[in-house]
Amino acid sequence: MSQDTVHRVEIRPRAGAPDPKSDEAAREAAAVGVAPAPTRVEHASVYLIQAALSPADIEELARTLLADPVTDEFVIGAAPPRGDALIEVHPLPGVTDPDAEAVELAIQTVLGVEAVVRTGRRFDFTDTDAAGARTIAERSFANPVINAIHDTPYHPDDFPAAATHPASVVEVPLDDLDDTDLERLSREGHLFLSLEEMRAIQAEYRRLGRPPREIELETLAQTWSEHCVHKTLKARIRYEGDLPNAASRPGHTVNDDGSITIDNLLASTVAAATHELMADGIDWCLSVFVDNAGVIAFDDAHAVCFKVETHNHPSAIEPYGGAATGIGGCIRDIMGTGLGARPIAATDVFCVARPDAFSRDGSGRPLPAGCLHPKRILRQVVAGVRDYGNRMGIPTLGGAVWFDDDYVGNPLVYCGCVGVMPRRFVTGDARPGDRIIVLGGRTGRDGIHGATFSSAELTDTHADEFSHAVQIGNPVTEKKTLDAILEARDEPAGCLFAAITDCGAGGFSSAVGEMGETLGATVQLENAPLKYAGLSPTEIWISEAQERMVLAVPPENTTRLREICDRHDVELCDLGVFGTDERELILRYRELEVGRLPMTFLHEGCPRATRSARSTPPAPPERRPGGGRLRLSTGDALLELLAHPNIASKRWIIRQYDHEVQGRSVIKPLVGPAGEGPGDAAVVLPVTGSRRGLAIAQGLATGLRADPHRMALAAIDECVRNLVCVGADPDRIAILDNFSWPSCSDPESLGSLVRAAAGCYDGAMAYRTPFISGKDSLNNQFTTEDGRTIRIPPTLLISGFGIVPDVERCVTMDAKTAGSLLIMVGLTTPALGGSHYEMITGVTGSDLPSPDPAAGRAAAVAVHEAIRAGLVRSAHDPSEGGLLVAAAEMAIGGGLGVHVDTLALPVTETCPAVAACFAETSGRYLLEVGRDHLNDLSATLAGVPHAIVGEFRTEPSMTVSGADVDESIATLTQAWLGTLDW
């Protein structure tokens, strides 16, 4: 509690000055659809400043620091109402407020006065009543999870202080609990441990002869959470159902009854492929599956690393904060790989429901209670990635958006980050005696139970129950921390620390627990700097407050490290020491021992479950080949496909991301002279002065989810094709898996995971693309208030990066020259199952395509040879939407016209015209080749099926032989750009 007055200042544009923030607020308000709709919305910024300052000081502060002297005016206190209703949105106590922190710093530096600052936003509505204004605020401007909404100007006498939780040792007796009690304790304590795991803990404490303390139970719950330990993927699985070549798969045993036992799914599939490939000559994998990111060699002196994370559940509840802290956390993984890598690129993939499918006004399906509208989710997750990535100065270079209505309650947010580091920094290990040093943000109550929450299933009440799991990030804190860490790493006398990791899920409990696994650690919890007083030792220990890194620092280096941190305004604290006699984790708060756990039990005590999995081939969907939609002309189908949200231009998103920062981007996400061509992959230059590049791309084939094995093969193929299209060497591609699945306690769901993992193994082996890292998120479903469960489609994201030997040889997808030829490489099959053509026509029951990875690998190698030899002017992968969509995209990208001859298409068997145009057969490439290079190209592609299937031309239209298409490029462009032009 402070005695100082809280001053209030409002800032708004002067009359007549441009006011885009109000215009944007008015657009958002109109979209909410309340009646009567406001005719005008005025936005103002509000600053609440608690400091020992005179009215004259405050006026000076408003004039020089808060208002723009050219365009703004300010009011001390609150302006009278400027319309018919007023709403203010302020962060709830304890929610991170980065702007307020910067204003505090400025006041301190310029005036030498300590201040406490809070920021807020005021909206004045004209022609809307108070109820309407509140509805608009709730649906568009505020999220009750992090914001308070006021309908008068908010001007408190003092800021509310956070509740104080005293430091005490809380014991939780387990000895007398029966199974029902154990399960109840697990659920009600938000531990989310299984009965078997609760029993293991009960037994361990019986052995120790004492009851567990609360902080110990919490530590076990964090460390054993699905999120941290991946216990499903590492479990023993008994699988019933078909699995190709089951007997010859590593780690798979076919039992007498025909069932298959898989001993550790992860080790037997994804990781097995990597280790087999490494045994078979791939010598450029430097660190796989053990660190925060996978690391491969880039050149003789440098390594590059890649990590992709999901942040699904936080994004469902607070999309902006969820996505921002998703990318923030993934960046910290890169900062915490080896002895620290420099982040050089970010990626993002979002899966949401179709924005026009749900509504409150009856025009679409009703939005289930507890869900945010998909349009709001998408806008907010984009804003979250934008604001975090741009502020960190990391170019966001690639991504995708996939729409399916079953993501309505559980959207997916995948964030990826790529880093570069000198090879001598690839590994690090803490040593006994090293200090446990924390750099970066302060610890607060934010994000408590994030790890256990993300391992649970979402329901309509989760937003209330888990609001404390939501975190708001402060990217500038993370950027300062990055600057300090890289300076400490590059210290001329040698790196100042022995190991580093990030504080992610589970907070200190996971970071210190992992780093000290083989050493033990003693932690002095009161040393952690806090955002506000009153946290209990348990809260400090498990808080997932953002922007914190944990380092193991030899004692003699701490002074130098502190100097570097001071210069960067980065807080540093000494939390304790690694190494105990008995390999224990000892938690202390002042003189009090609050917890003590053997590291062996913490890391090896989690019982290994045997899980049941089953795959029942889905009844073939009813064939509905007839119906009016089939009479759709080919031209109209092409227009609808270009406008399909999965395919339509994502420029609305891409242009909000800085993809040029750091100056390394050689191939940008949008290519061609108008900047409208959808590039297959981005290419960056990781090492200054070198022409060696790194291509980054994704593959996602959710359309094939009816057979997860094929889905995995197709996703790997698509990722490889995207990389090869820009010039990456298919012999230097590494990939990552991210499984987002519905609950795997359902054997069918786990069965589909088994099949997808088998596909990952087969794909990695066939393409010789080792997996180097991965992550799973296995509880993605939403239970509505009436008890209905909405399961997401099983979604496998494959991310990959590949080395481009010389970026001067890079190729983009925009068609370059009228008169050059369009070549299709690879065979097309008639199977249309899971294609976008099926989606737009409503036809079901077509055959699912069967990827041919051997042919895909051969095509990739041959196309790379052709690109390397300079024979290819442009290259693009025909995936979503098929041949015509890809050819149209090349023409749109290059500002040229195109003629396509589908009759010339190389096919496996007779292909109906519709399949020739729209099949999404994997393993295919479209190349633009000059007539003078045709012979050389044919020689280079010898043995790989290919044919001339068209020609680019000056006349700006697209025509197709064998189908009724004659559309102007302008019409196609309009269809393609219009859908997501938000």
Binding site: P20, L66, D68, R567, Y657, E660, V661, S665
Partner: protein, 267 residues
């Protein structure tokens, strides 16, 4: 020779590419933290060139560049005046531009050859983009023939290459009056303009960058430091050898300044 100060602080994130651009142009860049400079402003006196990089200094809290500008106005203005009086070329792209206009360096006083001893109040601003949204793209640019800017004067632009990348949410140039804009134009202080049909943020007069009356201090929203190699051009895979002859326009600007600094030192 060409000793260059790159100022970094919390949230600055274009310092490395700015340093690289100076290095490609033959200068020797060094990064120093704003906290060091505030503690000892005389450090600045040892440099021949200065770069205030882009980024989101202090998170762009309140407004872009506002907090950094207040700190630098408070502690470093006299040191910058001394640098300008020594003939030191200063470049401030993007966040640097936002800082420079608020710390009193741009459009700058001193039309009579004497720089004001106290930082003047800002007379131009870089407001929220007309679209209210961050935008990243390459825009076509023009360099006014009459500019007095040491950095942009004489830069050669080809049909396919007269571009610069922009990436900002608050870049809309607004002068406090139309008379001020006319003055800046007549004194050759407009250093870069967006092409008439390619204004990415609604800037008044399509102004992309201005210089001070000495021509030494350039502030601009685009990032010339991200256009120093041809493979940074957004459609370089379509350019022919003639298009790619010579240095990209961004690098030419840095060469101009390094040459100017060398000439200054020789005199």
């Amino acid at each position: 020779m060409g000793k260059t100060l790159i100022i970094t602080t919390a949230g600055i994130n274009c310092d490395r590419e700015l340093a690289e651009a100076f290095a490609l142009a033959g200068a020797t860049p060094e990064s120093r933290h704003l906290n060091e400079l505030m503690a000892d402003p005389a450090i600045i006196d040892a440099y021949d060139l200065i770069g205030i990089p882009g980024g989101f200094s202090y998170g762009d809290a309140v407004a872009a560049g506002r907090v950094a500008a207040q700190l630098m106005r408070h502690a470093l203005y006299p040191a910058f005046v001394r640098a300008i009086e020594r003939g030191v070329p200063i470049i401030a792209p993007c966040n640097g531009f936002q800082i420079a206009v608020q710390m009193g360096l741009l459009p700058g006083g001193g039309n009579d050859g004497v720089l004001p001893s106290e930082p003047p109040a800002a007379t131009v601003t870089l407001a929220v983009n007309e679209s209210a949204r961050f935008v990243d793209r390459w825009t076509r640019i023009e360099i006014p023939a009459e500019t007095r800017c040491v950095w942009t004067r004489g830069v050669t632009l080809g049909d396919e290459t007269s571009l610069l990348p922009v990436a900002h949410g608050e870049g809309r140039f607004i002068p406090q009056s139309s008379a001020l804009l006319a003055e800046l134009e007549s004194r050759g202080q407009v250093a870069v303009r967006y092409a008439a049909d390619d204004n990415p943020n609604g800037s008044v007069g399509a102004v992309a960058g201005i210089c001070d009356p000495t021509g030494l201090v350039l502030g601009l929203m685009p990032h010339p430091e991200r256009y120093t190699r041809w493979t940074q051009h957004p459609w370089w895979t379509r350019l022919n050898a003639a298009d790619r002859a010579g240095d990209p326009p961004g690098l030419q600007m840095f060469r101009n300044a390094v040459t100017h600094a060398a000439r200054c030192a020789a005199v």
